[in-house]
């Protein structure tokens, strides 16, 4: 096929690539589709149009184009997830409270060391918990704290944001929502 020549053909190439990707595609990925013959700003414009095309005639479409941390992806609208889940009865196992609390600390307080996590939770961190989160590619080591022992500093990854359908950490529910109102100065 010859290179796409008009907006319709360009959007079709984008659509075909995004529908088959199985993961988010970044702007840099998508530029490759056009072998250097595409401006970043034009690409953004085309993606916006494509998103609108799929949002139009809303009830007829089963997918939506969304932007997450590492790029753009098509995903099934939420109302279909319940049916799709029936295809694989063995559900992804739920993480334990220890894992989820550790994840919450890393997400909201990052970058943190294992010591920081232990301080907040009041118990030793099971190495298995960190391993589970690293294997899921939800956290990784971003450096060391310059204190004796140089403990590793953990942070959440972009993949974590992708998996939670977020573009950035700021889209997480604000931490203040969970903290009680300031302690009154006088009882």
């Amino acid at each position: 096929m010859k290179e796409p020549e008009n907006i319709i053909e360009m959007k079709q190439v984008l659509e075909a690539a995004l529908l088959t990707a199985g993961q988010p595609l970044s702007l840099d990925d998508l530029l490759k589709l056009f072998a250097g013959r595409m401006e970043r700003t034009t690409l953004r414009m085309l993606l916006d149009e494509l998103k609108q095309d799929w949002a139009q005639d809303n009830t007829a479409k089963t997918l939506e184009l969304v932007q997450v941390a590492t790029g753009y992806r098509f995903q099934a609208k939420p109302q279909y997830s319940e049916f799709i889940a029936r295809l694989n009865p063995e559900k992804q196992p739920k993480y334990s409270r220890a894992v989820m609390e550790t994840l919450a600390i890393i997400a909201y307080k990052q970058p943190v060391t294992r010591g920081d996590i232990e301080q907040i939770r009041g118990v030793a961190v099971n190495p298995n918990v960190m391993r589970q989160l690293q294997e899921r590619d939800w956290i990784d080591i971003v450096g060391q704290r310059e204190v004796p022992g140089r403990p590793s500093l953990y942070a959440t990854t972009k993949h974590f944001l992708d998996d939670l359908n977020l573009r950035s950490l700021s889209e997480l529910p604000p931490f203040e929502d969970f903290a009680q109102t300031e302690m009154p100065l006088e009882g």
Binding site: R73, G122, A124, D163
Partner: protein, 262 residues
């Protein structure tokens, strides 16, 4: 058994007179129940919420007693008791005893021995809530399905790239192995000749028989090229690759590839 367990509860040498109501649990379930706590802070938060204590004005004596009951229970059923629980016991008792000291004339908030404990409890409670909220966010693989239609993976028929250096390297290797260096010295001139040999053979292959002079483009080719062309014809004849014929003296000379039929 249950009563025995209840009776044996002693907190730092003091036997507890009564057990909190919520501790009457079938023994089988007890272990599971106690294991459900994520640590001393979790247990303390549970006690505070369970007994409707004011987190900002914790009655230390009451909370400490409640906490000790649970810790003793854990010990009693030989639950592997993390050192963290014992550390917290010590901290609670220390706070409790500091509360008993005569208060300074002016009470400042930071001087409250409970302040650090309260801060940690509140921070942990916030994290607990945050963890629950994170858990409830739709996840890829559970609640979110990403489009992944099939596409035909075309081999982008990419041809290997060959650089001049690679070609020379290959030739050098051939020579090294074949020890042909003495017999196969090839110079620029010879390369030109060999190129022209190929050209002439191609021409003969296409046209069959070609008249000698037709092989020379005296108008556009320089003298050097014409000489090389002539040398190529001689070399072709020498290697028996062409046949040169002439019916009689001074008649046209014809060249023919040695393989061709006519």
């Amino acid at each position: 058994m249950q009563t025995q367990l209840t009776l044996s509860i002693r907190v730092h040498g003091e036997t507890l007179a009564e057990l909190p109501q919520d501790l009457y649990i079938p023994p089988d379930a007890l272990e599971v129940y106690l294991e459900a706590f994520e640590g001393p802070l979790d247990l303390l938060l549970y006690l505070i919420r369970k007994h409707n204590l004011d987190i900002l004005d914790i009655p230390m004596a009451q909370l400490t007693a409640q906490y000790m009951v649970y810790v003793e229970k854990m010990k009693a059923i030989k639950l592997e008791l993390a050192a963290d629980y014992l550390l917290m016991s010590a901290m609670l008792i220390e706070i409790k005893s500091r509360m008993l000291l005569p208060k300074p004339a002016e009470i400042v908030e930071e001087d409250d021995p409970r302040a650090e404990l309260v801060r940690r409890l509140m921070e942990y409670e916030a994290i607990k809530l945050a963890a629950q909220r994170l858990d409830a966010i739709p996840q890829v693989g559970v609640d979110i399905s990403v489009a992944s239609a099939y596409y035909q993976h075309v081999a982008d028929i990419k041809q290997p790239e060959v650089s001049l250096d690679e070609l020379i390297e290959a030739w050098r290797n051939v020579l090294k192995r074949a020890k042909l260096t003495t017999h196969h010295k090839i110079g620029k001139a010879e390369l030109s000749v060999r190129e022209h040999m190929s050209q002439i053979l191609r021409r003969l292959k296409a046209d069959g028989m070609v008249e000698f002079s037709a092989l020379f483009d005296v108008v556009t080719e320089g003298l050097a090229k014409l000489v090389v062309h002539f040398l190529a014809i001689l070399e072709l004849a020498k290697e028996g690759l062409i046949r040169i014929t002439q019916q009689q003296a001074f008649s046209p000379i014809y060249l023919q590839a040695n393989g061709s039929m006519e």
